[in-house]
């Protein structure tokens, strides 16, 4: 039996405002518990929420970036339920009239084809606090620092058909919110997380299967693993005569499995109703247009331009636009070098990426900045050093912080382009290896490589490879 997986994601992205969505408290991560919660966050008697305009602007910019409809009037609603980390006994969210509706993003599948993922809506809401259990025997601690942190919840259509597609979509949203600088995207700190709605149906079936919702996935790897586990669980269940029940499930990364949290019957009746403490958010067309003007070049636009202007492959362009910083770094290198954008791309995606990865650094923290890398690439382009020597120079630059020219000078790595010097080295090598020379001349062409290697060794790798090639060919021919 062939099965089809159907996935929809609800992504929660924490908006990068300085203060909370309805109070003046700071949103910084990692402070002492309850030091960033004022009377509004604590839900004290008599206090009232006041909307943070910056959160609204960020949500609108997201909506514009996904080509969505921005609601001229959206309404905050109360989602009522009791929980100790929910101080007011309700969460302020948006329900019937969200600020963003009907957008879409494109993902690239493994075979290179593009797929459109619909985004049903995106709405503003406040985060809850945290319950702490560790080190508190017999009781639970409540930390309300996170309570009231602004979130945008991005709800997709059930358009994804595999865990891979789900991850690709989530990464796409992750890239986008960071481009827009509306979310820091930090998944460990919970700034970017998702719930996955997963169901399966027989291939060709029109009706969706019953879905399970996997809560609070905070890494791309967990998303993929949890969905794959859940898909298998559901298929096995159905094939063995069982039925999937609508429920909320939790993913246990240690065991690599999902388990039931609560069934539909146990689900809360949230009793949503418009929050009478907040006015509807009214957005004039001029305000929306002025926000549109603040949008940066978006990842897809940038990638298309890289292909067009720099002659990169779609794949390379995709890699280099994965973050706004990486794209900016690359373009700065290209601008400074002034030619050979493909070589620049190779360096950014190759050695630079490898070193960043090794040292677990973001491109913004790179020990070789774009100007320095451009200096290095320039020396390759102008034949001062070879690409191979450049790798050595790069490593020294990374560890010591010096410029490419300084490293080349200091280590004497300047490429030898003096014909006489190269010829002298060739003569020496030929003299030392009479046997190989005879073999070569008797037809063993493959030994050419041996001679290149020996001359390079003799010149400390500094001989200009093209010149060496030409001269060596002539000399070996006799």
């Amino acid at each position: 039996m062939e099965w089809e997986t159907v996935i929809g994601l609800e992504i929660h992205a924490q908006l990068a405002t300085r203060s909370k969505i309805f109070s003046g408290s700071a949103t910084a991560y990692g402070a002492e518990p309850n030091t960033q919660a004022d009377l509004v966050d604590l839900g004290y008697p008599g206090v009232l929420p006041v909307l943070n305009g910056e959160a609204v602007r960020m949500a609108v910019r997201f909506g514009l970036a996904i080509g969505a409809r921005i609601a001229p009037r959206s309404v905050f609603a109360r989602k009522n339920y009791f929980y100790p980390d929910l101080p007011k006994g309700y969460q302020i969210s948006q329900y019937e009239l969200p600020i963003v509706a009907e957008g879409a993003l494109e993902i690239v599948l493994d075979d290179g084809t593009r797929k459109r993922i619909g985004i049903t809506r995106a709405h503003l809401e406040e985060d809850a606090g945290k319950s702490l259990h560790e080190g508190l025997p017999g009781v639970s601690g409540i930390d309300l620092n996170r309570a009231g942190t602004p979130l945008i919840e991005i709800v997709s259509e059930p358009d994804m058909r595999s865990a891979k597609e789900a991850v690709a979509y989530m990464k796409k949203v992750h890239t986008l919110v960071r481009y827009l600088e509306i979310c820091d995207g930090n998944m460990q700190e919970g700034s970017f997380r998702c719930d996955a709605n997963v169901s399966v149906r027989r291939k060709g079936a029109e009706k969706f299967g019953t879905r399970a919702e996997i809560k609070n996935l905070n890494s791309f790897r967990y998303v993929e693993k949890a969905i794959n586990y859940e898909v298998e669980r559901q298929i096995e269940l159905i094939e063995s005569g069982g039925k999937v029940v609508q429920e909320t499930r939790l993913y246990d990364p240690d065991k690599g499995e999902t388990r039931s949290m609560r069934s539909k019957e146990e689900a809360n009746d949230y009793r949503y109703f418009p929050d009478p403490d907040l006015l509807p958010v009214a957005l004039e067309p001029e305000v929306i247009e002025s926000l549109r003007a603040t949008l940066p070049e978006l990842p897809d636009e940038k990638a298309a331009r890289f292909v067009r202007e720099h002659g990169l492959s779609e794949y390379d362009a995709g890699v280099l636009t994965a973050s706004r910083e990486l794209g900016a770094y690359y373009e700065d290198v290209v601008r400074r070098v002034g030619r050979d954008p493909k070589l620049c791309a190779n360096w950014v995606m190759g050695d630079l990426a490898a070193f960043l990865n090794r040292d677990n650094l973001e491109v913004g923290q790179s020990k070789v900045d774009s100007a320095a890398l451009a200096g290095l690439v320039t020396r390759i382009v102008d034949a001062t050093i070879s690409g191979k020597i450049a790798k050595e120079v790069f490593e020294t630059m990374w560890d010591g912080g010096a410029s490419a020219d300084a490293v080349i000078e200091q280590k004497g790595l300047r490429q030898i382009t003096d014909t006489g010097a190269i010829e002298a080295a060739i003569d020496e090598v030929m003299a030392k290896n009479p046997g190989q020379l005879a073999d070569y001349r008797s037809g063993k062409d493959k030994l050419f490589g041996f001679f290149v290697g020996q001359v390079m060794k003799a010149t400390g790798g500094k001989a200009n490879p093209a010149q060496l090639n030409d001269l060596l060919k002539k000399k070996l021919a006799g």
């Binding site: 008599g46 009478p276 403490d277």
Partner: protein, 490 residues
Amino acid sequence: MTAPPSLPAPTVAGLARGLARGEYSSVELTQACLARIAAGQPALNAFVTVTGEAALAAAAAADAARASGRAGALTGVPIAHKDIFCTEGVKTTCGSKMLADFVSPYDATVVKGLKAAGTVMLGKLNMDEFAMGSSNETSFFGPVRNPWDPTKVPGGSSGGSAAAVAARLAPAATATDTGGSIRQPAALCGITGIKPTYGRVSRYGMIAFASSLDQAGLITVSAEDAALLLGPMSGFDPRDSTSVESAVPDYTATLGDSLEGLTIGLVREFFDKGLDGDCGQRVREAIAVYEELGAKVREVSCPNLPLSVPTYYVVAPAECSSNLARFDGVRFGHRCDSPRNLADLYCRSRGEGFGAEVKRRIMTGTYVLSAGYFDAYYLKAQRVRQLISADFARAFGECDLLLGPTAPTTAFGIGEKNDDPITMYLNDIYTIGANLAGLPAMSIPCGFAGGLPVGLQLIGPHFSEARMLNAAHRYQQETDWHLRVPSAWA
């Protein structure tokens, strides 16, 4: 019992003049109030907390300010606050066991504004629990008694405010009105009450009952006093998104304007069969006074107004069920002893902390918001609410102010309506409409029936407080009902 010496003037306006002329100091005036409060407390139970020491200190500061030439119109005038307003460092109980020991860490915007204007706080006034009630009998701190007849209720929920001002324990008091909680007690106690336009006064620091209906106002002896005190407590507050950015006029500036040409609408639906005959008669006598003052009187109709009570008892409980969810025993307020688990903590803390009427409304509100009932109750009520607002808007196309009775009867007996919540709810039948439409409204005394005061209600278009206050003031210049004091408190 013999009442302690009466205050040196019957009104805030008079007391402010006396203070300005140096006839007495704020400390002397505050001492006089505190003496009357002490005498009145056993009989009336109007106060939950009396802040005598702090009051005298504030009065001394006011006197010092006056001595150094920094006195405003209200500097040194003692007033009291309904215990629904948060007061920094002072118990703020909201009439509930839930908050019996709650000391607020901050001042409500209303409290701040009146403090900044120089008024001196005498203490916190009793009220129906979380402002839910029309008789002040739901207070955890016991019922308040009507100074005109201690066997009668003072009305509610601002029963403490009304009784304190009626017995002249305090020259004026703040109060709140969600469905009539200022106007009905003002009527039942024979004094003046004003509920401003929704959004005129900040709700920040006023413990929420039903957020879309709650509005802070005043209970005073006269309309002039209300005009004096309303300014400092009004205006846009960045902490309340529903407060309105509209300039606050000097409400005293237009007092005394002629009523010539003013059109007063008599709402037909207010003169229904539920209205007590004598009360209706007093209102008709007041209409005659207005005609003598030059006002034109015509009948208007608000056909949907009879639906206001059922509409209100869907909307208000819905909002209250959510507003009161924060009282969960976790961060503040009553917490049950040794909870076994989270559910036990919630159930017992709330079960013990809330009284019967509050529970009834939380349950009603939870029900009307529930899946499957939301459309039939909450949404329908919101639609009717719009119809009622539209009725008023139409009426104000034909007239400048509406006039009618404030309550169907005079004060009823303590315990009389406790068995039947519906009868109790019907007490607000004439007042609820203004809350649903967000309109400003007042109650002023217009005579007596069977020895008990009768109230006349005025309702105006949004932000017409100045016009309404003047209409009330002109009436009070022709009559002295508002100056009558129960003999025991004279």
